[in-house]
Amino acid sequence: MTEQNSFRLKAGLAQMLKGGVIMDVMNVEQAKIAEAAGAVAVMALERIPSRIRAEGGVARMSDPDMIQEIKKAVSIPVMAKARIGHFVEAQIIEACDIDYIDESEVLTPADDEAHIDKHPFSLPFVCGCRNLGEALRRINEGAAMIRTKGEAGTGNIVEAVRHWSHLQRDIESLTASNLDEKAEEYRVPVELVKEVFEAGRLQVVNFAAGGIATPADAALMMQLGVDGVFVGSGIFDSENPQLMAEAVVKATMNYDKPEVLREVSRGLGEAMKGQEIESLEVKYADRESGA
């Protein structure tokens, strides 16, 4: 009688996060700052993306101790990242009894042909996408939440906007007569494409990620129509993380009120420095296995 770990329960948790900000945190202290600022969830990882970029090397799952200490320290949901295709890292995260797994291109991919088969897991997964095909392939593999990828660790919003716009154009280009063709192009069952066509949006909650560094960036993505935002390096690489965290939360709620956005944007100190996309050695967003 009791239904557990079903897709609608996995997707249901994401529904509770809507309108919110999910923040990358590297320790208990940062997790508490994020929670106090009003984050709806935290992403526990050892190095925020800007540091992974700066330090290089293989980026892997975080230490379970670190993940579980954060879980104990906050009451909001806790997420952690596994490498693309690394189903054992995902199993370990699941055994940490946290709330969500991010199969993330920010970490170094473990399999360049396939993503994790997410259906057998009891924990829900969030995955990144640059367009509708990528989103539907991840949903078909069992992802219960999607985030547009953007370009993590850059503090540059341009890729987040690009990926969201691409996704919207793909959705708008669906017609009653091209669903089979699109399903073939995207390599997914036609039912998934049909659901998107009928709803005019993805069938799961859709956040933006990758490059959101200011309250205005968060509000920009919200005005474009996303369900909420991930802020990675933007908080804890800024001059005053606490102020920045609170400002981004307020901006996400008041995304369509310029007067409120003006107030929350005042006196925040330096935002993270940021990078031009052309100067990057590695574009994380290009990481899709088997594409």
């Binding site: 009791t2 239904e3 249901g12 529904q15 509770m16 996060l17 809507k18 919110g20 709330d99």
Partner: protein, 180 residues
Amino acid sequence: MLPKKLGVLCLQGSFAEHLQCCVDLGLETVEVRDIESLQSVSHLIIPGGESTTMLKLLKAYGMWEVLEGRMKEARDLKIFGTCAGAILCSYLGLDVEVNRNGFGAQQASMIVALESEKFKNLQGTFIRAPRFTNCGKNVETLATLNGEAVLIEQDNFLAASFHPELLDETRVHAYFFNQS
């Protein structure tokens, strides 16, 4: 008395799902996002979401003060809270102790049949759900799970530890708006 008017608190969480339940019932509904809209309603639904986030935003924009005034002094507002909304009810005077995430983390989330005289065949979606412990003597229990209260009512409060809005279950919404 204010004219009867239904609102959904639309700061964060499952407010779109609650708005859809209200549309399905044919009820005109206000999206409550500021003090002005909060003051205009007689019935307020507080959705599921993260209670710490909602409380932070309510306080930042002066809405918490209005809610406290209307629930504790004027007593001219009725609230229906689901999950995080139920936790906020307990801060506003609903006489119950709440154990946040009392049903466990995400892997303990479930959809399950509930026992209820009032709502036959009621199902509950529990997602990182709070547990009601030590209900006060004026609290009436409308539904239980294995004998434990999960839908409760007291004075101007109706609170569910589960999410009727996720299963297109509109009977509880109808009860909330029509009973008074």
